[in-house]
Symmetry: C2
Subunit: 338 residues, 2 copies
Amino acid sequence: MPRNTQIVLDNRPQGAATEGNFRLIATDTPPLTDGQVLVRHHYLSLDPYMRGRMNEGKSYAACQPLGEVMIGGTVGEVVESRHPRFAAGDKVVGMGGWQEYSVVDGNAPGLLRKVEGGPVPLSYYLGAVGMPGVTAWYGLTQIIAPKAGETVTVSAATGAVGSAFAALAKARGCRVVGVAGGPQKCRYATEELGFDACIDHRLHTDVKSMSRALKDACPDGIDGHFENVGGTILDAVLLRANAFARVALCGMIAGYDGAPLPLQNPALMLINRMRVEGFIVSEHMQLWPQALQELAALVVAGTLHPRESIAQGLASAPAAFIGLLHGKNMGKQLVKLI
Amino acid sequence: MPRNTQIVLDNRPQGAATEGNFRLIATDTPPLTDGQVLVRHHYLSLDPYMRGRMNEGKSYAACQPLGEVMIGGTVGEVVESRHPRFAAGDKVVGMGGWQEYSVVDGNAPGLLRKVEGGPVPLSYYLGAVGMPGVTAWYGLTQIIAPKAGETVTVSAATGAVGSAFAALAKARGCRVVGVAGGPQKCRYATEELGFDACIDHRLHTDVKSMSRALKDACPDGIDGHFENVGGTILDAVLLRANAFARVALCGMIAGYDGAPLPLQNPALMLINRMRVEGFIVSEHMQLWPQALQELAALVVAGTLHPRESIAQGLASAPAAFIGLLHGKNMGKQLVKLI
């Protein structure tokens, strides 16, 4: 069996997460028992939700235990199988974690999914045609449920979720406005991702300024918002929301480090008769096939073709992850493991 | 035509509303033209939403214009009619405002509604079997939509909305926990209104303390919350909410005077995958008949029989209204005009 390299959570962040919270270890992969599959990971996905799990206490999922391999989505290839449904050479998506190999129970429902090669690049199954894409799809179609002509907004617009959100919303005839950090990302949003406008949040660091920028970019107000960030952006969106606007709460990354970020004027949810709904996409597995089908079709059609930021080698994962939390990546953040 | 007495909004509150914001004037009632009805008001309803309309700027309804009769629900008797559907002696509910008489266009849909005398006291059409009752019904059935056995909570528990909420939720097999101000109101809630428990918010003025009190009163967590107040209570409810909890936002009275009250940790809406929805009951008129029918049945059955606080004479309305905002009333606040 091959030697494995793994990254475990060594200690919990005090405030901002640092590379020192993680530890790289070398282990042996255990021999397979009946029903198990050995997967060699080609790519590891880095996603903002991982930051929430590094904290102790109540989050929407069990927190990441210390000393265990960090949770994470992976795509790779079966190298050995003692399960009849998997064979060496199969391309598979799973939650293999921050490591080069994983041993997976082939019988556990949803743990390992075979994917096609072909027109969709393998790495896309961790982004546009994977969990982030389905996340955008769920928030847009199940919570915001926009009509053609409505205006929808999304924060972290150029990330894996935001880029899928733009393609899905444009396909429904919406005006789509993004919020991202820096002129380069904003240009990428409008020139490559299909956004009608993109607001650089670095130029609008307080609620008043962000609210004015939203007013300019959304002359008919905001009918739906997909929140990946929280803080100033959400406060400003509430000021520009139309009656009966819907907000899909997917991430509050702005408050993951340190103290919770308050919402300045929650009465606006009442004044605007809004619906604000939090969700976690893994609780809606029955909708994934439908979502993945639409996302794959958009990729094949060429209307969803986001960039990727690829770090090389498992040891680069902690730094790449911290960079992601600070918005240093452009597009989906991956770690290439082969 | 009879002389009329009216109360107009004289000036807008700077911070807390005061009696000095209102002005009492005497006028003549104009002669009726075709299609009009003259109504003598027996009772005027005082409700927290009126405070929001006294402010300038964006609220869920047009703000109350200066120098005009204050908006308000009324119940009374037709004294003269030039409309075929109304006759002298008819008992009617309407939005007659803070005045003794009103002249109403009998053709305007929804402005004037005939009600039965009989087992439902006339004044109840402003409370349990009126707008506040329907408000409770809408939030409970259309937003919270509880299953039997779930725990639901409500702030301003002994008010007109809270008391109807308790009866409606008990009828659906829920555990119902109220929050009210003072031991007298809490006793009234559990002994007369059917609440399973009631928390005195005067004993729990910070979020931590309120959260502990909610934990004691809701050992299985909170599945649904009806918010009339906002502030500390809502912050604490979010800390005790179960996964997929629903919050009906009906009032944020805690923030009506002065600066907006922030929500301390909005990320809990995501962590708990909650749905928070603001509403205004007058935008859902198609559901009123169904709601009023259930509410009237509960009154007739004796399971909904809230107390009323009755101020005598129109001139007492401003003081009674300020008292309502400070929680001085016990049960539905009315002004008796005859």
